[in-house]
Amino acid sequence: MRISKLGPVIETVLVVAVEIVLYRRFQQGDGTFHYFTHLFAGGSLALVLMAVVAHRWRRPVRFPLLAVLAGHLFAMAPDILYLESIAHTRWMDVFVAHNTSHFLPGRNISWYVLFLAAMTLYLVTAPPAREATGAGRRPTGCVEATVGAPRRP
């Protein structure tokens, strides 16, 4: 199997493994509510930015799962400081509204819906990889001409 084919597999395994570790860490601290808030908030921000980038450059983001993981880590950064005995302060809302994101009406259900909306936006916006690179394209008119040509008697 080529490296280019293995890339998405490695990316998926890596991101899922990191997310499981993060979830377990939050679970031990009785903080799964916070885990999901920051996953959905940070992931939504990443997906919206990915949609903008994909629309601008006419190709999908190369490592989308890593981008979502980066958004999650950015959103939960104050929790890492919290483990180092630094309490949250209001300026930490620069991390994807780290404090106020918890108080969104509907709480994590609303964040889940927003995350799905952001994911849909990206999946709709990003052009397919083949179309973006031009590889493997062929003029559709040729196909139609061949199929529709009258058979020689």
């Binding site: 009785d30 999901f36 005995s85 404090n99 889940y112 999946l123 083949r130």
Partner: protein, 218 residues
């Protein structure tokens, strides 16, 4: 190809048996275009990926919410927020005794049920508990059985709050089971409640209490 366009014995074209002569013949139709899905493969892949992600995350979210602790806050956003002055308004602290809370000293007031009170009394003897005892004044508000709670530090004030008046005066939130709260409030040196939260695992989480105390001490 047999069956598509045929000729009679004079070489003239004739329509195959059973075919509608009004329709144009198209030998390619029904082979290439009909076998190929009208929806591009990449669209199907994206729909599948989106559905899988939605299902996995939705299931994980539901599972995480399916077994709540009866001592948890019904609104988990209000529990262990980790930031001062967010949950409930600033309010003057009610006296537990003549000396607690004292002006000029930060005070931590624990609200406990008998089970958690015993655990906390033990936890206050740990390094984190001893550090806490040195930094702040401590008050233990127990819903019942206060006489059985004997912290090692004689400076720790223990009071009983059977009707929940003290908890209400500190504006502690009620847990999911509607009983007495288990958690703590932190009072600053000016006698104002700056932080309040339910925390069923407070006896094993004194490091977090120290973090909040550090924030209140500035």
């Amino acid at each position: 190809m047999p069956g598509s366009v045929d000729t009679d014995r004079h070489g003239r074209h004739r329509t195959p048996v059973g075919a509608d002569p009004s329709l144009p013949t198209n030998p390619g139709a029904g082979r290439g275009s009909a076998a190929r899905s009208p929806v591009p493969r990449w669209v199907l892949v994206r729909v599948a990926v989106g559905a899988i992600v939605a299902a996995v995350l939705g299931a994980a979210l539901i599972v995480s919410m399916s077994d709540p602790d009866p001592l948890d806050d019904p609104d988990l956003a209000m529990q262990r927020a980790g930031i001062l002055d967010v949950v409930g308004p600033r309010s003057p602290a009610v006296a537990l005794s003549a000396a607690v809370p004292a002006r000029g000293r930060v005070t931590v007031v624990f609200f406990l049920r008998p089970t958690q009170a015993g655990q906390l009394a033990g936890a206050l003897e740990s390094p984190a508990g001893q550090e806490l005892s040195e930094l702040v004044d401590l008050g233990l508000v127990v819903s019942s059985g206060a006489g059985e709670v004997t912290p090692r530090d004689p400076g720790t004030t223990v009071v009983e709050d059977p009707d929940g008046r003290l908890a209400a005066a500190y504006r502690m939130r009620l847990p999911r089971d509607g009983g007495s709260p288990v958690g703590y409030a932190v009072v600053d040196a000016a006698g104002t409640v700056r932080y309040r939260t339910l925390d069923p695992e407070v006896a094993t989480g004194l490091d977090e209490v120290l973090t909040i105390v550090d924030a209140v001490r500035g």
